[in-house]
């Protein structure tokens, strides 16, 4: 990518990086298949642990679906920069004249297509399994759409900070990032809960949009700074 001329627009850079990431990911199906399987299995565990009563399940469903989505995103994010750091391409990105935060944004977006989008697609099915009222399903999908992107943006900071940590880097990343993702969890599951109780969810959804906009503009900068530290260390 560093061979791109400087005059290349940011959009072209973004697009070519995105194509690269997707091409790499498609060749290792585990990368995008595992998070979605994890998501489905964790949600299946809850009725087994809590009991199959539809009343209980429908009360806890918004929280469970949201926490499971959060965990599945975090687990898959550990390796966001690992390969790039170890095969040297990250160093090339850092040294290239292209802005590193755009590289980060492209990687995050590719990751969202692979790790976030599938969650949205299966979530209506899981909502039915969890006896969530049908009226809440559109809000669930919308909240996951806004929320997972924010989660990946924030998680990328943690992935970059722990990129140089070998063994146990994944659990450390979750330790750092999970407290920071609390707002997304609160507004995401809050939106679904409100919709399930037939109350307006607009307030929660606009807060999710606000968080996403904030994460989109600030998180890539922090991630880029952390990546520079990681590259200079290795």
């Amino acid at each position: 990518m560093d061979s791109l001329p400087l005059s290349t627009g940011l959009l072209a850079l973004f697009r070519s990086l995105l194509t690269r990431e997707l091409a790499v990911a498609i060749r290792s199906p585990g990368q995008w298949l595992n998070p979605i399987l994890f998501f489905i299995i964790v949600i299946t565990l809850f009725p087994l642990g809590v009991g199959p009563g539809p009343n209980t399940l429908s009360i806890i469903a918004p929280g469970i679906i949201w926490v499971s989505a959060l965990l599945s995103v975090m687990l898959s994010l550990q390796s966001l920069f690992y390969d790039d750091l170890h095969n040297g391409s990250l160093e090339q990105f850092v040294l290239s004249a292209q802005p590193l935060s755009v590289v980060v944004l492209a990687k995050v977006f590719a990751w969202w297509i692979l790790g976030g989008l599938p969650l949205l697609l299966v979530s209506p099915l899981l909502a039915i399994l969890m006896h969530l009222p049908a009226s809440a399903i559109p809000v669930l999908v919308l909240s996951l759409l806004l929320g997972t992107l924010t989660l990946i943006l924030v998680g990328a900071i943690g992935a970059a900070l722990t990129a140089t940590v070998g063994n146990g880097g994944g659990i450390l990343m979750s330790l750092l990032v999970l407290p920071l993702t609390v707002p997304v969890l609160i507004f995401g599951s809050g939106a679904v809960q409100a919709a399930a109780l037939q109350m307006p969810a607009g307030g929660h959804l606009s807060l999710l949009v606000a968080l996403l906009a904030l994460a989109l503009s600030l998180a890539p900068v922090a991630t880029a700074a952390a990546l520079r530290v990681a590259v200079s260390a290795s």
Binding site: P99, G202, S206, L207, L214, L216, S217, V221
Partner: protein, 158 residues
Amino acid sequence: MTPKRKQRLMLVALMLVGVSVAVVFLLKAFNSNIMLFKSPSDIVAGDIQEGSRFRIGGMVVEGSVKRNDTDLSVEFQLTDTANKVPVTFTGILPDLFSEGQGIVAMGSLNNSGTFVASEVLAKHDENYMPPEVADALKKAGKMPGTSVNYGGSTVVQP
């Protein structure tokens, strides 16, 4: 302007756009009301299904608390000054539960229109003072907290 500069300027501009979008949606969220709990008037108006769980908020009616001598069950009435709803609860009430106090209860309506609470919450106010001062304030009718106007409004703008 060099292409490099141009790029950087564009990124900064994009960041500013992002932050302003965040602010716009934050303000939008502040303007949309969020319901915290149903009021006794909502229940009297009959827009709640029997058996579905919800939260009710109101003030405990003076003189309405009846404690059972043999077990921990309590009956009282909740009001939003316009309407009253009978509530039953079995369990230990919080220390600050008293007549005239605002509380919130979680539970559902039974078929006779009584609210069966599974949880009762009271919250202490944020005043700290010696008992003599409290008495004096009460006498003067200037006790903070009790003067809070608890009208029919159960809508809070966080």
